[in-house]
């Protein structure tokens, strides 16, 4: 469900964000310094979702056959790989950088330019990364939870990193502008697929929850932390029998 985060990238007006403020308790689910502003933005984003993003996603999901949607996803994932190589190297993870590079080579050369994910069939599993993960690995705290207009949930670190994701992407730097724009368009279309595939989950969070802001926030934060830490930490498990 990296997609909950990718949902954030929808449509998108990039906002240059302030550098991360130090968080008093980065692990606390109750730390929410921008709650008031965030709630207003969250409500505005739900209006956009209800009237534009969700209907477009449902139309795309129901109108376009699954193999074609999968092809667009594969294309996006493949052409994102060079950016992953850069980030994995910055994270000091050469083996993951190697896999990302191999995936790019195999899928572009033998997978119709990236439409078919042949690399996964060959055991090279897809794993995405971004500047946020690099900053996490460097020990930068996540900062406060931050909801961005048209963008959705994130943290101060995550949204700062998002700006750099494009600035440090070799594909965007070295490919002709038209090709770069086409890839951004493909990733925009793929966001519709993410929204479509997650519809039941997001519907629950956005429209069935008593407090959809809090439900979305704690889901986002827990999901993001587990992803960065590579799974559920045993330290997060509650001893339910000792409490009551």
């Amino acid at each position: 469900m990296g997609s909950v985060k990718r949902f954030c990238l929808a449509l998108l007006a990039p906002a240059a964000l302030a550098a991360c403020a130090a968080s008093p308790d980065p692990e606390s689910l109750s730390f929410d310094p921008f709650a008031t502003e965030n709630r207003a933005t969250h409500d505005a984003n739900l209006t956009i979702d209800r009237n534009a993003y969700r209907p477009a996603a449902i139309a795309y999901g129901k109108g376009v056959p699954e193999p074609l949607r999968r092809g667009v996803s594969n294309l996006e994932n493949t052409w994102d790989s060079p950016g992953y190589v850069v980030q994995y190297m910055l994270q000091g993870r050469p083996e993951l950088a190697g896999t990302a590079m191999m995936r790019f080579g195999v899928n572009t050369l033998f997978g119709f330019g990236g439409l078919i994910d042949l690399a996964s069939e060959l055991g090279m599993d897809y794993r995405d990364t971004n500047v946020d993960e690099t900053l996490f690995r460097w020990g930068v705290p996540e900062g406060g939870y931050l909801v961005v207009p048209f963008g959705g949930p994130g943290t101060q670190r995550d949204w700062s990193g998002w700006v750099l994701d494009y600035a440090l992407d070799p594909v965007q730097l070295f490919l002709p502008t038209a090709a770069g724009t086409a890839l951004i368009a493909a990733s925009g279309v793929d966001l519709l697929n993410d929204r479509y595939e997650l519809d039941t989950t997001l519907d629950e969070l956005f429209y069935q929850s008593e407090d959809s802001y809090t439900a979305t926030r704690i889901s986002y934060l827990q999901n993001m932390r587990a992803r960065l830490k590579g799974g559920t930490g045993l330290d997060l498990l509650e001893d339910v029998y000792d409490d009551y």
Binding site: M1, S3, L29, E66, R70, E197, T200, T201, E204, Q208, S209, E210, D211, T214, A215, I218, S219, Q222, N223, M224, R225, A226, R227, G231, T232, L234, L236, L237, E238, D239, V240, Y241, D242, D243, Y244
Partner: protein, 207 residues
């Protein structure tokens, strides 16, 4: 590592193994009852088997939710989950309120998570690992593999502190059910002016 291919006999064998192990363990003095990782994996394998039979049984809607609720009641320690989710108000509740809360909370959960679960047709649950978490129990990692869709990581916290193995939390893609429901139930309780009776009525309305 054990792989449960839903619909094969593996899950049932796992269930038999778990039953045999638990039956054997029950005869021993209490401190020896500590749940091992393989036992917890077999336990999760048997829940997976039941879930698989249900999701592929052709049932849908309220029929599916009520069967789902039965599985929840059998394999999860609902009184402990409910108490933990309700938090401090649990302590001041009367025993009638407690039992009414647990039963409505259970139906509410079955409906809420049953809706998500309905999408898992043709999915396979693979047990991929497990770790002993001491007093908190055992954490079992599973992957829900769905054809043509991204895999979903589901972790199960299993504890035998009640005397037998029970699920006490589900962590879906890092998101803890206990944390999610604590926030949600807390928000409903607030909107009902802190009244447990009104909370119960509201949960009944939603389930």
């Amino acid at each position: 590592m054990m792989t449960t291919d839903l619909g094969t006999g593996l899950a049932r064998r796992g269930f038999l193994a778990a039953t045999a192990l638990l039956a054997g363990a029950a005869a021993l003095p209490r401190p020896l009852l500590a749940l091992t990782v393989p036992q917890a994996q077999a336990f999760v394998g048997s829940i997976s088997g039941e879930l698989d039979r249900l999701v592929n049984s052709g049932r849908s809607g309220s029929q599916l939710y009520s069967q789902f609720e039965q599985i929840l009641a059998r394999y999860a320690d609902m009184p402990v989950v409910g108490a933990s989710v309700l938090g401090p108000p649990w302590r001041s509740a009367t025993s009638a309120q407690k039992s009414a809360f647990i039963s409505t909370f259970q139906s509410y959960l079955a409906r809420k998570y049953g809706r998500q679960f309905e999408e898992y047709r043709n999915a396979r649950i693979q047990v991929t690992g497990g770790k002993d978490a001491g007093r908190a129990g055992v954490l079992i990692n599973t992957t829900v593999v769905r054809p043509g869709r991204e895999n979903i990581g589901v972790d199960w916290q299993i504890s035998d502190r009640s005397g037998s193995a029970k699920a006490v939390n589900l962590i879906i893609e890092g998101v803890s059910l206990l944390a999610t429901e604590r926030a949600e139930i807390g928000a409903i309780l607030d909107s009902q002016g802190g009244s447990i009776d009104k909370l119960i009525a509201e949960l009944r309305r939603r389930s």
